[in-house]
């Protein structure tokens, strides 16, 4: 602020020399709007402003209107003086009035052009930072590739251009494209197109080496680049979506011919956005690849969903130990009989250890047993061969398992069960009595010589044989927090399940055990239930004997 005199105490209007050398333009005009004084700076700025000239003739409209507004009768002498602002030539000025009691007004003009520009730049910068922050939030919240791609196209179309295309790396001979217009919704499509037809696109799609944004002559691009209903593009840029070693794709931005083109600053900004989008998309692509691989592995390793096979009901349930280790040490399989009237084979087992090592052993056991299926009638032989296949001089990781052959005989089911170092199956009679199958044997895979005694069982309609792993019986919890679930409790639960359908029993056991452990840690829990169907209905309903009751 450059003042040597306090204007509020009165200004020597007539002795204008005081103002003439002031570094700010100063203009004094009277109540009627006639200019009284113009200092040197004001004279240079407003060449037509001379003492005696009306304001309306000498200054821009915004300033003469301001002067007129001030001349209107005021509410009180102490009213706050306002500040006006407007352009003078190509500069922007603020005009600060000081009003004398006589109605004479002294106008200070302050050049705020640079200040304005700085403010504007700051505002844009803040907007962009906020936009990039929002983009990061949206993009990083999802690991779904389609969603990341859509968000990228949509945000780019909303904030960077009139339309945006996200091009993914080629799939076969097709170029996957997501297009978004203005504030519309992203649309996925694919084009049989040669990326080389758009300058810079091939390089951008390769993702490496890093390439700069390319300006593309709108007249040279193929039709598929311009979205339907867009009109004539005025400018087009191609920006790579950098993918951290994985090609993520490219972003094409279009602006219409009748609007402004891209400034270099905007292009830099688009690149910043593309960097974030590319990172998010490549993370999503890696996640999708990995989860696809895991899915395949899971399908191999996770227990199958069971159903009725040849008149015998099977149901199974599996609850892995920790959420992040989905492949645990327990497993089960049902191998349907190869021929009519032959038994189906159920295998339920528990592999020592956990994580990947356990999963590898589980896979080996399941594969080996599958190969040994022709011997399914001879449990001892199967177990001996499996043991030989698993014996390994480097470790003593072992498995315990139960083999159970089951075949329908009339309304009943005949079973042979063999435990290889595993808790013997429990049989739930129709009366609610729970019996332990009389079978004992050696664990598999660590001791050269194994032996096992089988038990023969007979399930009347509605009766059930339950194969389980010790994850149930050894689960700790309960209302007091540290009690073992134990075999007694399992038997008590099963006694209540007499006559229930196989799925219901599995669900019941799993639910009671899950409530028992609560939020505590627990081991894998696997259970397979083999039931003789309760009803004779399979043959009783005309025309409905085909396997339509399988769930």
């Amino acid at each position: 602020m450059v003042t040597s005199t306090n204007p509020a105490t009165g200004v020597d209007v007539q002795g204008g020399s005081l103002w003439s050398r002031a570094p700010y333009p100063v203009l004094i005009a009277d109540l009627q709007g006639a200019i009284i004084l113009v200092n040197e700076a004001a004279g240079a700025l407003l060449p037509r402003a001379r003492p005696g000239t009306p304001m309306t003739d000498a200054v821009p409209d915004w300033l003469s209107s301001a002067h007129a507004a001030l001349r209107l009768p005021r509410q009180g002498a102490a009213a706050e003086p306002a500040v006006w602002s407007g352009r003078v030539g190509d500069r922007v000025f603020e005009a600060h009035p000081t009003v004398e009691d006589s109605g004479t007004v002294l106008w200070w003009l302050v050049d705020t052009t640079d200040h304005r520009l700085a403010e504007e730049a700051l505002r844009r910068e803040r907007e962009r930072t906020a936009f990039l922050g929002r983009a990061s939030n949206l993009l990083l919240s999802s690991l779904n590739l389609d969603r990341c791609t859509n968000v990228t196209a949509q945000m780019a179309a909303e904030h960077l251009a009139d339309a945006a295309l996200v091009i993914a790396p080629m799939r076969g001979n097709r170029l996957p494209i997501v297009t978004c217009l203005g504030d519309g919704n992203p649309v996925a499509s694919s084009a049989i197109a040669d990326p080389a037809s758009v300058p810079g696109l091939v390089e951008a799609l390769q993702g490496f080496p890093p390439v700069p944004t390319r300006w593309v002559d709108p007249r040279t691009v193929p039709d598929w680049v311009v979205p339907e209903g867009f009109g004539a593009p005025g400018s087009i840029v191609v920006t790579p979506l950098p993918g951290h070693g994985v090609p993520a794709g490219a972003l094409i931005l279009l602006r219409r011919a009748d609007g402004p083109g891209f400034t270099p600053e905007e292009e830099v900004f688009a690149r910043l956005f593309a960097a974030r989008a590319g990172a998010a998309m490549s993370a999503a692509r890696l996640y999708a690849d990995q989860s696809a691989i895991t899915d395949v592995l899971m399908r191999e390793l996770l227990p199958p969903s069971l159903h009725q096979v040849s008149g015998v009901d099977f149901a199974g349930g599996y609850r892995p130990s920790e959420d992040h280790e989905r492949i645990g040490g327990d497993f089960y399989d049902v191998h349907p009989a190869g021929t009519e009237g032959a038994p189906s084979l159920v295998v339920l087992g528990d592999v020592c250890g956990k994580g990947l090592e356990a999963a590898v052993l589980t896979g080996k056991i399941r594969n080996t047993l599958h190969a040994l299926l022709p011997l399914a009638d001879d449990h001892q032989r199967m177990l001996a061969l499996l043991n030989m296949a698993l014996l390994n001089s480097h470790h003593t990781r072992f498995a315990t398992l139960v083999l159970a052959s089951a075949v329908r005989e009339g309304g009943s089911v005949r079973m042979r069960v063999t435990s290889a170092g595993h808790p013997p199956p429990l049989v739930v009679r129709a009366t609610g009595e729970v019996e332990e199958a009389d079978t004992r044997g050696t664990l598999i895979g660590a001791i050269p010589e194994v032996r096992a005694d089988s038990a023969d069982l007979f399930l009347a309609p509605g009766e059930t044989c339950v194969l389980y792993t010790d994850g149930f019986t050894e689960a700790r919890g309960g209302p007091m927090g540290d009690a073992m679930f134990g075999e007694e409790r399992l038997r008590r639960v099963l006694a209540e399940c007499a006559g229930m359908p196989a799925e219901g029993i599995v669900e019941r056991i799993q639910m009671v055990a899950a409530q028992w452990v609560g939020t505590g840690r627990h081991d894998d829990m696997a259970v397979v239930v083999v039931s003789a169907p309760r009803s004779h209905h399979l043959s009783a309903v005309n025309g409905h004997t085909r396997g339509r009751f399988t769930a």
Binding site: S142, L143, N144
Partner: protein
């Protein structure tokens, strides 16, 4: 029990009654047969799901609460209903083309009552959505991994037990954090879905039909990331919920000790009866914690009334409830919100109408 059926009853109410008989008798073949024949005769699959199977399932819960069915029978009935749903979904009449978007249907972790979610999944499938039904008891990491992989338009989340609500809240927040909106349903969310909004769900529906209508009518908006769950429930700042949850086991033990000393009847209890009593006490603590989480006294007093009603229905006098609540109040005397809830619970038991059985959002 099985009867030979030439055709299923025509009227919905008759079909429901016939299905109920089959389900109550544990006769899955008659149950699935009824459903298939009804569809053969031209019944609308959605109507069979929602006007026949759903009411039968509701009745199963009622019968259990009234002690006319054992827990095991309840499971059996539910399994049979589940088979009936499976039979329906395999029937030619239920074949649809998935022309709409993709939806994930799941139960909150710890939730075993999967049938309501399954019914919704089937209804959505019938209406042309592509549905991933994840079933009961879905751990949050599994659900989120599934969302990343499949990128559905929304998640439909079911919970029937109120004590799962804190987990439901964590699940809702996690889904929204990955940009997927959540519609919730099930008895846990309280009368009129009052807890759904509190926990930040994007929508609530009282039943499968209105959920499907709601989803169809107006697509749920993608949630904006950056939401902080603590903002939903500022009262959690006092840590009372955390404290009660963390000391659950020692609270149960303290109450059991107190009952041993001050409640002579306990001395004659068998081990099994003692374990049941400890389970009841643990349930009280769980509901207390949930009521603290939601800052909702009704949730606790309703549960106390319900427990008293259930015990009475089973011929077990609820004498041990007031001392148990008083013992808990003694343990938690430094926690004003918990103390107030327990006092309200004690008052509830003293009130003459305490033993009615209100709507079920309890185990």
């Amino acid at each position: 029990m099985s009867t030979e059926l030439r055709s299923a009853p025509r009227r919905t109410a008759d079909l429901e009654a016939a299905l109920w008989d089959a389900v109550f008798a544990g006769d899955e073949y008659t149950a699935t047969d009824l459903v298939q024949r009804a569809l053969d005769d031209g019944a609308d699959p959605e109507s069979v799901l929602l006007d026949v199977i759903a009411p039968v399932q509701f009745k199963v819960g009622e019968e259990w609460a009234a002690n006319r069915m054992t827990v095991a029978q309840e499971h059996a009935a539910t399994a049979i209903n589940d088979r009936a749903v499976a039979a329906l979904s395999l029937h030619a009449a239920s074949r649809t083309v998935a022309g709409r978007g993709r939806i994930t249907v799941a139960c909150v972790d710890g939730e075993w009552h999967a049938l309501p979610a399954r019914l919704l999944a089937e209804v959505l499938r019938l209406r042309g959505w592509r549905v991933d039904y994840l079933g009961a008891q879905v751990p949050v990491p599994h659900l989120i991994a599934h969302l990343h992989r499949t990128g559905p338009e929304l998640v439909a989340l079911s919970s029937s037990i109120a004590t799962r609500l804190p987990t439901a809240h964590a699940t809702i927040t996690a889904c929204q954090a990955v940009g997927v909106p959540v519609v919730v349903g099930g008895a846990a969310f309280g009368p009129g879905g009052r807890y759904a909004e509190l926990l930040g769900a994007d929508a609530w529906a009282p039943d499968a039909r209105s959920a499907a209508d709601r989803i169809q009518r107006d697509p749920l908006k993608r949630p904006v990331p950056g939401h902080q769950p603590i903002d939903d429930l500022p009262h959690l700042d006092d840590q009372e919920y955390t404290m009660v949850t963390r000391t659950r086991t020692s609270l149960v033990r303290a109450v059991m000790r107190g009952l041993d000393q001050g409640f002579p009847a306990m001395l004659r209890y068998s081990d099994l009866q003692r374990e049941r009593t400890a389970e009841d006490v643990a349930h009280i603590v769980d509901f207390l914690a949930t009521a603290l989480y939601l800052d909702d006294a009704d949730l606790f007093t309703d549960f106390i009334a319900w427990t008293a009603g259930i015990l009475t229905a089973r011929g077990v006098p609820a004498h041990s409830l007031p001392p148990a609540l008083r013992l808990l109040a003694g343990e938690l005397k430094d926690f004003p919100r918990a103390t107030r809830l327990l006092r309200l619970g004690i008052d509830q038991l003293a009130a003459p109408s305490a033993h009615s059985v209100p709507a079920r959002n309890h185990p």
